[in-house]
C-alpha cells in the first residue's frame, strides 16, 4: 500500500486513500476523533472497484473479473496502488489505479460530485504522449507531484522490478502534466531513478533496488524536491579468496543444493501424480493427505538443503535482501529538473 493523504469525501478533513494487495482501493476517513476503519471504495454499481484480479472474501481465494474492462483490454491487471485525483478537471476526484502485474495505469471517472462519488464502471487505460503508459518493471506506486514547477500535478510512478534480486530492479519516472490546467494530459516520461541492475557487491547496500515506493518533498529546505524511496535493497558482500580445496567444496555444495532441489521436485511430482482425476474439494483433500504422507521426505530434503546452504554461505557471501527508506537529495537547488515540454 502507498497511503495518500487527501480529502476524499470533501468534508474538510484529510482522509487516507490507499490501494492494497486485495486488488481494491480503500479509504480511512479522517474525523475529529481520528482515523476511521478503512473501507472499500465502491463503484456506482455498489461493487468494490477492481481491475481484474482480486481477493474474493466469500470464497477466500484469488478471483478475476473482466466486467469492468475497456474495449480492447488485454490480460489480467491487479490494482494495488491508487491515487485520488481530478483527472478530467470536472471538480471531483477520480481514481487512478496502478497495475501490479504490468506497467499499466488505469482510471475510473467520477460522475458524481465532491463528497458524493459515482465511479464509472469502466477501467480506462491512461495514455501519455499518444501511447499507453507502461511503467518499466510493473507499477509499485504512483504519486502526484508538480515536478517541473508549472503549477500542474504530474504523475510519478515507481516500479517493482525483480523483487528478490532476480533480473532488473525498479526505477522511478514522472509523466509531466501537459494538459490545459484543468483536465490532465500526460507527456513523455522523465527518468528520475534508473532501474537497478541489482548487482551491487559491498559491505552495505548502495541503493533501493526493487519495489520502489517514492514520495517527494523538500526535506532539506533548499528549495527543490527531494525523493524518499522505500524499497528492498539487494547486495552481496565482497567475495573472499578461496584456495583450491575451498573452491572444490563450493562446487560440491552447489551440486548438493541442485540435488536437493531435484529431489524436492521429484517428491512433489509423486504427490501430484497420485491425484488422478480427482477434482475440486476432493482433489484438495487428497493432495493434503498425500503431501502429509511425504512430509518426512520434505523435511529431510529441507534439512539437507539448509545444511549445504549454511556451509556455502561461509565460503561465498550470500545475497542480502532488506528493506529501507532512502533519501535522494536533489542537487538542483531551486531549479528542479529541466521542465518537460
Amino acid at each position: 500500500m502507498s497511503p495518500q493523504f487527501v480529502d476524499f469525501d470533501a468534508d474538510g478533513q484529510l482522509d487516507i486513500v490507499a490501494g492494497i494487495f486485495d486488488g481494491s482501493p480503500h479509504v480511512s476517513r479522517g474525523s475529529k476523533q481520528g482515523w476511521q476503519k478503512p473501507e472499500q471504495i465502491l463503484g456506482r454499481d455498489g461493487a468494490r472497484i477492481v481491475l481484474n484480479a482480486f481477493w474474493n472474501f466469500d470464497t477466500k481465494k484469488w478471483d478475476s473479473t473482466h466486467a469492468y474492462d475497456a474495449p480492447g483490454h488485454e490480460g489480467e491487471a491487479h490494482a494495488t496502488s491508487t491515487l485520488a485525483f481530478d483527472v478530467d478537471g470536472d471538480g471531483d476526484l477520480d481514481l487512478l489505479l496502478g497495475d501490479h502485474e504490468s506497467g499499466r495505469v488505469f482510471w475510473r471517472r467520477n460522475d458524481g460530485a465532491p463528497g458524493k462519488p459515482a465511479f464509472d464502471l469502466v477501467n480506462q487505460p491512461v495514455t501519455a504522449a499518444g501511447a499507453r503508459i507502461d511503467v518499466p518493471g510493473t507499477v509499485a506506486t504512483m504519486r502526484l507531484v508538480d515536478w517541473n514547477g508549472d503549477g500542474k500535478q504530474d504523475l510519478a510512478c515507481g516500479s517493482m522490478g525483480g523483487s528478490f534480486g532476480d533480473g532488473e530492479g525498479g526505477g522511478v519516472w514522472v509523466w509531466p502534466n501537459v494538459g490545459d490546467g484543468k483536465a490532465a494530459a500526460w507527456g513523455a516520461p522523465i527518468e528520475l531513478i534508473a532501474r537497478s541492475q541489482q548487482d551491487h557487491v559491498g559491505d552495505a547496500p548502495a541503493r533501493p533496488d526493487a519495489g520502489l515506493y517514492m514520495d517527494f518533498g523538500d526535506v532539506d529546505g533548499d528549495g527543490d524536491l527531494d525523493l524518499l524511496v522505500g524499497a528492498y535493497s539487494h547486495w552481496r558482500a565482497s567475495p573472499k579468496p578461496l584456495d583450491a580445496a575451498q573452491q572444490e567444496r563450493v562446487a560440491a555444495l552447489q551440486a548438493a543444493l541442485k540435488d536437493c532441489d531435484a529431489r524436492f521436485q521429484q517428491v512433489l511430482k509423486e504427490v501430484n501424480d497420485g491425484l488422478g482425476d480427482a477434482a475440486g474439494e476432493a482433489r484438495s483433500k487428497l493432495y493434503t493427505e498425500r503431501y502429509k504422507a511425504r512430509q518426512s521426505d520434505f523435511q529431510a530434503i529441507g534439512k539437507d538443503r539448509s545444511a549445504a546452504q549454511k556451509e556455502l554461505d561461509t565460503l561465498v557471501p550470500p545475497r542480502q535482501r532488506k528493506s529501507f527508506v532512502w533519501l535522494y537529495e536533489n542537487l538542483a537547488a531551486k531549479k528542479n529538473a529541466a521542465p518537460a515540454k
Binding site: 522523465i190 528520475l192 529541466a338
Partner: protein
C-alpha cells in the same frame, strides 16, 4: 489466458527522455537509532505533517497494511532527522490497519 500485452502497441516508457535530475548518492534515512522502514514488507513512505506541529513527518505504509510515523525531529532546513517510528492509531485507539485481505 490472453496475452498480457499487445506487442505492437507503442509504450510511453519507451520514449523516456534524458532529463534526469542530479541527485546525491542515496542514503538510508534513520528513525531514532534504527533505519527507517527497515525490515518492513515493501515500505512506502509519504511525507505528511501528521501531528500538525508544522514539521513534515514521514508516514510509512507497507504490504500488510500497517502505518507508522517517524516524526521530524529537527528544523525543516538541513539534513533531516526523524524520531523513532510508532504505529499510526485509529480513532478507537488501536493501530490503523488496512489489512482486510
Amino acid at each position: 489466458m490472453r496475452p498480457l500485452l499487445l506487442p505492437l502497441l507503442a509504450c510511453a516508457a519507451a520514449t523516456a527522455v534524458a532529463q534526469a535530475p542530479q541527485f546525491a548518492p542515496p542514503v538510508r534515512l534513520k528513525a531514532g537509532d534504527k533505519f527507517l522502514g527497515e525490515g518492513r514488507l515493501y515500505p512506502s513512505p509519504v511525507l505528511h505533517d501528521l501531528d500538525g506541529e508544522g514539521r513534515v513527518d514521514v508516514v510509512v505504509g507497507d504490504l500488510i497494511g500497517v502505518l507508522t510515523v517517524a516524526p521530524r525531529a529537527n528544523a525543516a532546513a538541513g539534513t533531516p532527522a526523524y524520531g523513532s517510528e510508532t504505529k499510526v492509531l485509529a480513532a478507537d485507539g488501536q493501530p490503523l490497519d488496512f489489512d482486510n485481505w
